[in-house]
């Protein structure tokens, strides 16, 4: 299908997609850099272009709770937040996932205090990784648009029924402009379908939501989340494929790869950094260096097997992280390493901390990472400790 290409702000691209998916209920609370999305949606609703219930919330905790209640009542529900707001939602998102409420949430990634900052990194959504919610990380405004169009179908699938976070880096993706192809609302609405809940709050069939568990069932409900995330893998693959068939765009399903086939060094990363790496890989390839890229698109469900497969026989994997688990290192790197445990092919996996708190990651930095990684065979080369890119060592003297 042919769309219309326009120069759009990333937030606007998201709002366009959300509008066309026609959520029944939207509830949001302002936080930089998510605000443009909610402002666009508020305008759509007040001008009548979108017929949603738009609820101003008194906090992110309430915003998440409002969409929780709406979803339990059988409505398609949407919210968005960032950083401190996402942390405030943490408790609600746990309950939302376990109660199997398929809310879609745009997480505009921003670092966590202190010091307070509005710079982007992935610490906020990483703090939600164990909630049971799905996480899709996008690399461009176009992918942000595409992923939102796909999101409700995935989350609301009767075999999935989980909250879904579309994660996009603050500023780089939310506030920058890029050509984005958008499709007619009717086509998107048709693709997104409507929510058919398997159960809901309904006086005709009075169910009890949020019941109290003894030791006999809590583990079972957590395990059910494991199964649902496995189902989500299939669903994400089928929905992204269908989207490609209809709209001609494909941004990857669980992962996306670039120049991995014969690569000797493979960089693994998430979010907007992936676009930078893509460009750097092309330049390095032109110089004859065998470098490749794996974009981790779904951090939850985690595509461990897909990553291993895409790595093939590559001897060196460099994982770039924008989040930190203090005292153990980059979170993506830790999960990649865990995936390789017991695998017959054992590449050297090198963790890099790059872009924490918005620290610049440009092509030069990427090439530096490749250079450092390729020295890992040397005596002085890196072994397994995290390499902190751009860290000011003078700071600690």
């Amino acid at each position: 299908m042919k769309g219309k290409t326009a120069i759009l702000e990333g937030s606007r691209a998201v709002a366009e997609a959300v509008r066309a998916c026609r959520p029944d209920v939207i509830s949001v609370y302002p936080i930089t850099p998510q605000t443009h999305i909610l402002e666009d949606l508020a305008r759509f609703v007040s001008s009548g272009r979108l017929k949603s219930q738009f609820v101003r919330a008194d906090s992110e905790f309430s915003a998440a709770s409002i969409v929780y209640g709406a979803s339990a009542a059988g409505a398609r529900a949407y919210t968005a937040s960032a950083s401190q707001g996402l942390l405030l939602m943490n408790e609600v998102i746990y309950a939302m996932a376990s109660t199997r409420l398929p809310v879609v949430l745009t997480a505009v990634n921003r670092a966590i205090s202190a010091p307070i900052t509005i710079q982007p990194d992935h610490q906020d959504t990483m703090s939600l990784r164990d909630t049971g919610a799905l996480q899709i990380h996008v690399e461009s405004m176009q992918e942000a648009y595409d992923a939102h169009v796909q999101s409700f179908r995935i989350a609301e699938d009767p075999e999935v029924l989980l909250p879904l976070l579309i994660c996009m880096d603050g500023w780089v993706l939310s506030h920058s402009y890029e050509p984005v192809t958008v499709f007619p609302d009717e086509a998107i609405s048709e693709f997104a379908g409507t929510f058919h809940p398997v159960q809901k709050l309904d006086p005709a069939n009075p169910l009890t939501y949020g019941s109290y568990a003894d030791q006999d069932v809590l583990m079972e409900y957590r395990y059910a989340l494991m199964l649902a995330q496995e189902k989500a893998k299939e669903k994400i693959c089928s929905v992204t494929k269908e989207y490609k068939d209809i709209f001609g765009h494909f941004d990857g399903d669980l992962i996306d790869t670039h120049c991995t086939e014969d690569a000797e060094i493979i960089l693994v990363a998430m979010g907007s950094m992936v676009s930078t790496i893509r460009a750097a890989v092309d330049e390095l390839r032109a110089e004859g260096r065998k470098v490749g890229l794996i974009k981790v698109r779904t951090f939850r469900p985690f595509p461990g097997e897909e990553i291993i497969k895409a790595c093939g026989k590559a001897p060196l994997i460099a994982v770039l992280d924008k989040s930190l688990s203090v005292n153990t290192g980059g979170i993506l790197a830790t999960e990649v390493k865990a995936s390789f445990y017991g695998n017959p092919v054992q590449p050297v996996i090198l963790p890099f901390m790059a872009g924490l708190g918005g620290k610049e990651v440009n092509r030069r930095v990427i090439k530096e990472i490749v250079d450092i990684a390729s020295r890992s065979g040397d005596k002085q080369g890196p072994r397994k400790d995290t390499v902190w890119m751009g860290l000011d060592h003078g700071f600690f003297n």
């Binding site: 376990s98 029924l161 009890t208 939501y209 949020g210 019941s211 059910a224």
Partner: protein, 85 residues
């Protein structure tokens, strides 16, 4: 599995729990005194009092023996007895 998705449960399944086992006193209704005003039925936290033709009847399957009925009966038609276990 008898359980629904996401910790959701069916309505009214509490009715199989025999809370009457908790009782240490049992209310006894003197049907000759009972004026069938329904006060005990309204105030029973466990909905154990039913007003029948000839007066209030205690549902001992659920009655926890709180004795609010005894205390609130306007004509003192309810007394207590120690529960024999």
């Amino acid at each position: 599995m008898d359980l629904l998705l996401g910790g959701v449960c069916k309505a009214g399944e509490s009715k199989r729990l025999e809370t009457g086992k908790w009782r240490s006193f049992r209310p006894v209704v003197d049907r000759n005194r009972c004026i069938k005003c329904g006060k005990c039925a309204d105030l029973c936290p466990d909905s154990c009092m039913e007003i029948k033709e000839d007066g209030a009847e205690v549902n001992l399957y659920y009655c926890k023996g709180c004795l609010i009925c005894m205390r609130e009966c306007p004509v003192k038609a309810i007394t207590k007895e120690v529960e024999e276990k």
